[in-house]
């Protein structure tokens, strides 16, 4: 289909990626989708899936792991970004919306049992997140905590309207709004009222990986 890497092994190599891409698309659209939907979308039979992954769980773990890796990658890229911190922070969140890492990590959590590797990656991600928070803190509105990031991203990525492109567009729209709300207000008088209730805690967030 794509190129002339002749041979059955070439097709297999191509299928590796085709299947992963299909799985990403399908499970992002519907985390509870059946595995047959992945095969259909990839244009392969079911056995092509089971040749690569021993079970549905294993496929989901792979997707989650890839998502986490992507998240970590974007985080490191952000920490290496020498532009103004607030600008870099905004670009960071927008890139996470584009990559839709939340749908691959948080939303898939609970549908499978995490491996130690996953826990390690998650810890690493939290670490980087904290570093970004520390660097951005002085620009953030007082009262915003690092745990807010995840919850806000989750809200944003809960939006689903129209096709994929339109959904993405709208997510950026509301992220833009949210980013302004997260920014430390200037000396304007009315801005920055007290946020009600305690902020989300780290424990509350990680608890969902067990449910």
């Amino acid at each position: 289909m794509t190129k002339a890497l002749s041979g059955r092994q070439a097709q297999a190599a191509r299928n590796d990626e085709v299947i992963l891409a299909a799985a990403r698309a399908v499970f992002i659209a519907d985390p509870g989708a059946p595995i047959s939907a992945v095969a259909e979308r990839a244009g392969v039979g079911i056995s092509a899936l089971y040749r690569r992954y021993a079970s549905k769980e294993e496929l989901l773990r792979r997707l989650c792991s890839d998502g986490l890796a992507r998240y970590i990658e974007e985080s490191e890229k952000t920490l290496a970004d020498n532009r103004e911190p607030w600008l870099a922070f905004g670009a960071f969140l927008h890139s996470l919306v584009d990559a839709d890492t939340n749908s691959l990590t948080q939303r898939l959590a609970g549908t499978f049992t995490p491996t130690p590797d996953l826990w390690r990656d998650a810890a690493r991600a939290a670490e980087l997140n904290q570093a970004i928070y520390a660097r951005t803190k002085e620009y953030l509105r007082p009262g915003i905590v690092v745990e807010d990031f995840g919850v806000i991203l989750e809200q944003i990525t809960s939006i689903k309207l129209g096709d994929e492109a339109r959904t993405n567009q709208l997510r950026h729209r509301y992220l833009t709004l949210m980013l302004e709300a997260m920014h430390r207000p200037g000396e304007r008088p009315g801005g920055g009222s007290e946020l009600p209730g305690p902020p989300p805690s780290s424990d509350e967030l990680t608890d969902r990986w067990r449910a």
Copy 2:
């Protein structure tokens, strides 16, 4: 159990409300929940459900209808609110978060076929929504359209963390943030950057009632 309205008919009358309350709680927590979960939560048998509703769909329609009614009620209350429009608007959205009307209307849509009555109520709700928008427009940040309300509420109510009380608390937290972002910025220099992409349209929203 509760009071001394003796007789089997009294129990039946009480069950009417118990069942509805249970159904609300169950389907808000999980729109795809089995009907047996409702019976369990209500502490009744399954036949107590089927005595009142001919099918699961009918129960869902009832919940949706009640949710819409509640939405309309809050809208009218808001239009009759003589306080400063922005204050009334904020109270409006907060009350909708408390009532969780979105989970009963939007999120249940698509799981059943709407009746003409439902369409009428939905049209009425949209009308009132428009009236509230008109009254609040001058306080809103330019670029915000009436269709934003629904999408924003949907984001907010997508939050689910901890028990019901905690979830509600966090929803109000992020609604507070969002409300500030929706407010027309003062004369501050940096505020109010352009929102990317076209806003959600009315058609996009109603299309989901058919899917």
